[in-house]
């Protein structure tokens, strides 16, 4: 995928630079840090260095052009690669399906001054800080995907179909060395997926050694449905690739349940009544506004920050299996409207009549097992999403109140699972804290 090189900012007050000369040519291979051009600012003539490596595919500026800071000046990519249409530098990561997705690592568009590229809804967010942070996170995120193995260990693993992620390295610094793959039991070696960087490749479902298929009157042999297989595959991928961490909190939903009761009392049409889940989705969506990093997709070496918040709602299907329906713009959609939409989508999902657009594009997911009377649980992240919220049942619980007396409150436990490549525990905890505040002060959900 072609990347853009941009006019660097080489001084706190530099707004634009004049390209004097290219010191490299189209077709040249460059490394990050190579001098590629000379530019003139109002202070001096300065050599500029490539911000990324690769083959120069195209120049977007001619000597003499005055180019604003941050505007693209060249495309760099793999040799022979096509470059995007003139004037439309595309996001750098694998393109997400939503047109509204913003690739945080892509350069700001030339015509827009920094700071105006951010969604207004982000309020006081400082864009430069947010960008820097996202970049740092993207860099840090690469590490877990790298497997430290010697060249010959890699070669043997490939020949024998050994998945290096399953091999324990005993070499210096934990490197997987020749003997580790040679001694790796072959029958336990599932075919290795070839590429390692992105979490997207389709994985053959690893088959733990289970022995021969039993038969006889005591057992029934059932073919696995395609949906079941697909769920299994995705969950395996997620558990294999995505380093999950979990944060749990207990939320006092006494007020929330009371509010819902009041709201629904005024609604006569059953189909329009608001569910606890609708309130939870609303709460999660509002909390995500403050935590955009969790409203992010992970693409190997890039993060795709979503400016719209679409909450996936896990729906258990009557014949087994699971499906996500998507509450679009859940932070902005009025609660009543959302409740109707959710109810209809869930119904269609259970009837197997769901529409494609109703199950695609979630940026964050909620799984609510409250109706099943579970205390709490931890959900598996749905890649490429960065987090999922798991909700337990609301129960009458004795709690120590603020005046140190013990009272009975409705307590609901919530656990957020977060991709550690994208975020860290503190952010997960802060997100959960805000979510809790919103649910405990439910009037804020209506504002």
């Amino acid at each position: 995928m072609a990347e853009t090189l941009t006019m660097p900012k080489l001084g706190f007050d530099m707004a634009e630079g004049t390209l004097i000369t290219w010191t490299k040519s189209v077709g040249d291979t460059i490394n990050k840090g190579d001098v590629i051009a000379e530019i003139e600012t109002d202070k001096a003539t300065i050599e500029i260095e490539a911000q990324t490596g690769g083959t120069i595919l195209k120049f977007l500026a001619e000597p003499g052009d005055v180019v604003p800071v941050g505007a693209p000046i060249a495309y760099v990519g793999a040799e022979g690669e096509q470059v995007p249409e003139e004037g439309a530098p595309s996001p750098a990561a694998e393109p997400p399906s939503q047109a509204e997705a913003e690739a945080v690592a892509a350069p700001p568009k030339p015509e827009a001054a920094p700071g105006k590229t951010e969604d207004k809804d982000e309020g006081e967010a400082r864009p430069e800080y947010a960008e820097a942070k996202a970049e740092a996170e993207a860099e840090g995120a690469e590490e877990p995907a790298f497997i430290k193995a010697s060249p010959i260990a890699r070669r043997i693993a490939e020949e024998r179909g050994i998945d290096l992620r399953r091999v324990k390295g005993t070499g210096p610094g934990g490197r997987i060395v020749k003997r580790d793959v040679e001694e790796f039991p072959l029958e336990e070696a599932p075919a290795a997926p070839v590429k390692e960087a992105a979490p997207a490749p389709s994985v053959e479902l690893p088959q733990p050694s289970v022995g021969e298929l039993p038969s006889g009157p005591d057992v029934e042999i059932i073919e696995i449905s395609r949906l079941r297989k697909r769920i299994g595959q995705r969950m395996v991928e997620s558990k294999l690739y995505v380093p999950h961490f979990y944060v749990t909190t207990a939320i006092d939903v006494t007020a929330l349940l009371e509010l819902r009761k009041q709201l629904n009392e005024s609604i006569t049409d059953e189909a329009r009544k608001i569910s606890v889940n609708d309130l939870i989705v609303k709460g999660a969506a509002l909390a995500l506004r403050e935590f955009p990093n969790l409203n992010t997709h992970f693409y190997g070496d890039r993060l795709v920050r979503h400016k719209r918040i679409h909450i996936g709602i896990a729906v258990a299907l009557p014949d087994g299996g699971l499906m996500n329906v998507v509450a679009r713009d859940a932070d902005k959609t009025a609660l009543g409207t959302m409740a109707v939409q959710n109810r209809e989508m869930i119904a269609r999902a259970r009837e197997g009549k769901v529409r494609a657009e109703e199950v695609e594009g979630s940026t964050f997911s909620v799984s609510n097992l409250g109706p099943y009377d579970v205390d709490h649980f931890a959900a598996i992240i749905n890649p490429p999403e960065a987090a999922i919220l798991a909700i337990g049942a609301a129960r009458k619980t004795p709690v120590v109140l603020e005046d140190d007396t013990v009272g009975v409150r409705m307590i609901m436990k919530a656990t957020v699972s977060v991709d550690h490549r994208v975020s860290d525990g503190a952010e997960g905890a802060e997100f959960l804290k805000l979510f809790k505040e919103l649910l405990e002060n439910p009037m804020r959900l209506l504002m």
Binding site: S150, P151, G171, P172, V177, K178
Partner: protein, 328 residues
Amino acid sequence: MADRPITIREALSAALREEMQRDERVFIMGEEVGVWGGTYAVTRGFLDEFGEKRVRDTPIAEMVIAGAAVGAAMAGLRPVAEIMTINFAFLALDAIVNHAAKVRYMFNGQFTVPLVIRTTTGGGKQLGATHSHAPEVIFAHFPGLYVAVPGTAYDAKGMLKASIRDDNPVLFVEHSTMLQRRSPVPDDPDFLLPIGKSDVKRRGDDVTIVTFGKGLEWSTAAAETLAQDGIEAEIIDLRWLRPLDLEPVFESFKKTNRCVVVEESLPMFNVGAEVAARLQDELFDYMDAPVKRVAAMDVPLPYAAEIERMALPSPEKIVKAVKEVVGG
């Protein structure tokens, strides 16, 4: 005829004597080669045996020792010039590099330079900064020259005789602390070793140690220690830095997948750098660990014995390096 164990010094003497007896054009020139008998006593007795014409004492003048030897070789003689230590060869660098190595090429093959320049190398004798380094790699940089670095009496004899008989210029580098090392050497006056062939000095499956000269001694001691820990090192003695024969190294590395290069050279731009570069280039997919180098430290050698020792390679340093590439 059974091979007799003799010292490297005796092997060198025998090689010189045999070749001088064989070919009238072979003669020796250098500082103290005649009356003194050689500062390392390699040519003791030669003056009496061959006379002043063929055993020529020179002034202390390295530029002309090397340069005149080049001219004599071009004009049909087969000089064996002696530069007392390789540190003095820096004075003769122009004659060696610009003329010995290049006259054949720049005059399109009209001239040949059948020349051997013998010299000694190495530290460890408290001779201080100007007399102690082992800079033979410098000379191996230049096409047109051969560089011999024997590590045993057997090799010393066979390689020196081959060098004298060859029509190319050879810098023949002997290690000054190894002249008393003994090994069996054939008496055969036509015992020759091929030019530019390295040699497997020890078999092992766990790591390839590439070395030459004094490094052979350190590596052999290290290999014995390692064997007690169950690590079997294969030792490849390069014997020549030019022509550089890495085939046995590649063969060995395909088996061991790990390599340590041991040499007395300084650590930058040395044989280890060359071997490591070639291994990653040719056998990247066989690598199980980074190639490690054991060389002298990046300082001029000091006088004091205690710190001179620190600056030089040792079997302990080699053991440590091997364990780093083999270890867990």
